[in-house]
């Protein structure tokens, strides 16, 4: 049966598509291969989510070598949920890319762009599906290396420096993660994540395990761009080609957050991480700092892409805040915000990509009067912005609502005030855009640009519409998020 190989195919399909694209070389042919591969990948991811929701954890022995000797792929509702987000984002960005990269990437490099997108997709999905600690590192580097090149493809020369800085920070993060895995391997003698979780219980209190926890937490936090380790993110998102910014904003940091959740709740266990040490308090402090400081920085930006990038750092704070509460409700709010923020920020960057194509830049001087020259795009940006703020009727509201109720459930009433105050900062930076787009005259030298091409407009509007849809009918997203939280919290990852 083909379905039983789905966990492997989820990685193999995009991974094999990449060399095919390099052979194809022609821009159109490589785009068609990439489109087909992402469509298949999304189908696989969706079917895996359906399977894991009904049957629980799926285990796949790579090459029929049983774990712990062989490398096993292990996917449960939590991994499949994030995999669906990643694959869906890939599927939305692909049709968009055909026109989206034409202005930003040189035409002889188009096939490389598609090949790298496929490698990035394969790496991100690999992290989600694998059950081996070292494999996570390898996939992390596969996706990261592809990401560095994708960012460097940006039109501005500052993209090169942004990619270089991300390469340094990303490599340090991944290396710290490997140090942590090495220490865990020394303590437990296994790299299989499920096996490791069982054996760590017997290891008990050990300095090696504590050091491993510290290394892995800091290493992955660098990849998450958790404040104050976010310095690589704003430039990387600002100077990357628009479809790349959208794809990364919706997926890369989210996958790393999944890895952190996995290690905290499944491998080390909540008692080791939260009850025995001050991890929760530290994470809470950093999350609060992330919710406020980058949001204030966002207010003072003069470029819409940079503004959205700083807003991303700020929104990541909400997700880690849910983790730091160490409760099912908190985790559920995190999973939900992970999904909702991927929709919102992915959608905003996609809309902005069309605007950049028409206006020649995302600086506020270029965007002046956008409400008159590109009314649909400007309106879509405002709706996305409302979701960033968390206005009722948008996806952002739902996850903030769950986050606030999780905080109240823990008796942390003051956090309600903190979330509200941070949302007010979001009001200010979204208002900056509204002010520029609707209350300023278009620049005099501006040729009246008109809306973005349909192939860019449709995917972008679909994402923004999804933002509103999941803000009104959150049944599916809340049910799945609840399952994800339960899987992370109660299932120690040991075979079923």
């Amino acid at each position: 049966m083909l379905t039983q190989h789905f966990p492997a195919l989820l990685v193999v399909v995009p991974l094999m598509a990449a060399p095919l694209i390099v052979f194809a070389r022609r821009s159109l042919a490589s785009w068609l291969i990439a489109l087909l591969a992402t469509a298949i990948t999304f189908g696989i991811a969706a079917s895996l989510l359906a399977q894991t929701l009904s049957e629980g954890t799926l285990v796949y022995a790579m090459g029929s070598w049983e774990a712990p000797l062989g490398i096993e792929y292990r996917i449960d509702a939590a991994g499949a949920f994030v995999a669906v987000i990643v694959a869906a984002m890939g599927l939305i960005v692909m049709p968009y890319s055909r026109v989206g990269i034409a202005a930003e990437v040189r035409s002889e490099e188009h096939y490389l762009y598609y090949a790298l997108m496929m490698l990035c997709l394969a790496g991100l999905l690999g992290i989600l599906v694998t059950g081996d600690a070292f494999n996570v590192f390898v996939f992390l580097e596969v996706s990261s290396l592809a990401t560095y090149v994708l960012i460097a493809m940006g039109r501005d020369r500052r993209a090169l420096v942004a990619a270089y800085q991300y390469l340094l920070m990303g490599t340090i993060g991944a290396t710290l993660y490997v140090v942590g895995v090495g220490l865990l391997y020394l303590e437990t003698g296994t790299l299989n994540l499920a096996d490791m979780a069982t054996r760590l219980v017997d290891v008990g209190d050990s300095r090696g395990v504590l050091a491993a926890l510290a290394f892995i937490t800091v290493g992955i936090s660098l990849k998450i761009a958790l404040f104050p380790l976010h310095l690589w993110l704003p430039n990387a998102y600002a100077y990357a080609p628009s479809p790349v910014s959208a794809f990364l904003a919706a997926t890369a940091t989210k996958v790393s957050i999944y890895v952190l959740m996995r290690y905290f709740f499944t491998i080390f266990g909540a008692t080791e991480v939260f009850d025995a040490r001050a991890t929760g308090a530290i994470l809470l402090g950093l999350s609060l700092a992330a919710m406020f400081i980058p949001a204030v920085v966002a207010i003072f930006q003069h470029d819409m892409k940079r503004l959205l990038a700083y807003s991303s750092v700020s929104q990541i704070g909400y997700i880690t805040l849910g983790i730091s509460l160490d409760s099912v409700e908190g985790l559920m709010a995190s999973a939900m915000h992970l999904f909702n923020h991927a929709l919102t920020k992915g959608g905003l960057f996609l809309v902005l990509g069309g605007v950049v194509l028409r206006c020649g830049g995302a600086g506020f001087d270029r965007l002046a009067g956008l409400g008159h020259t590109m009314p649909v795009a400007a309106f879509a940006m405002v709706v996305g912005g409302l979701s960033l703020i968390g206005v009722p009727g948008t996806a952002g509201f739902i996850s903030k609502w769950y986050l606030v109720s999780a905080a109240m459930h823990e008796g942390q009433w003051w956090l309600v005030g903190a979330v509200l105050a941070s949302s007010l900062l979001a009001v200010i930076y979204v208002w900056r855009f509204v002010e520029v787009a609707y209350f300023r005259a278009p620049p005099a030298d501006h040729p009246a640009p008109g809306e973005a091409p349909l192939s860019m407009q449709l995917p972008a509007l679909a994402m923004i519409a999804a933002c509103v849809y999941f803000g009104i009918d959150a049944t599916w997203s809340s049910e799945v998020s609840m399952r994800v939280a339960e899987v992370l919290m109660y299932n120690p990852g040991v075979g079923q």
């Binding site: 290396l145 090149v149 020369r157 420096v161 270089y164 340094l168 490599t171 391997y185 020394l186």
Partner: protein, 128 residues
């Protein structure tokens, strides 16, 4: 726990710190990459050293062999070396492109040029 019994760990920690310091303290982009290389190499030692037993041989099943070294760390590190080489190659390629675009590989000078770009309205396109 003496210095001698944990010698390989001390060397690992020292190399990690030296590498990280170079990455943070140097302005030259190539030197930063050298530091990054040292930082990654330290991890190879962390994995390989504990896998070796004194007098241990390759894991060959046979009567005359009693003590085996663990081969798994070697294989893992082979993978990590490949990743390290790829990262270094990409990093150097980026430095070449930065040199072409900015005419400098000094981080301070590059950031200064970027700051100037931010105040002037039209940044130069990198492909000319």
């Amino acid at each position: 726990m003496t210095l001698a019994s944990h010698f390989s760990y001390w060397v690992t920690v020292l190399l990690l710190m030296v590498g990280l310091f170079i990455v943070m303290a140097r302005e030259n982009l190539i030197k930063k990459l050298i530091g990054l290389g040292i930082f990654q190499t330290a991890v190879y030692l962390l994995y390989i050293a504990p896998g070796k037993l004194i007098g241990g041989v390759a894991p060959i099943v046979g009567g005359q062999f009693a003590v085996y070294s663990n081969p798994l760390p070697h294989v893992l590190i082979l993978t990590a070396i490949v990743v390290g080489v790829a990262t270094l190659a990409l990093g150097l390629a980026l430095v070449v492109r930065i040199k072409e675009a900015y005419g400098s590989i000094d981080e301070d000078e590059i950031l200064l040029m970027d700051a100037r770009d931010d105040t002037s309205p039209e940044p130069e396109a990198k492909d000319g």
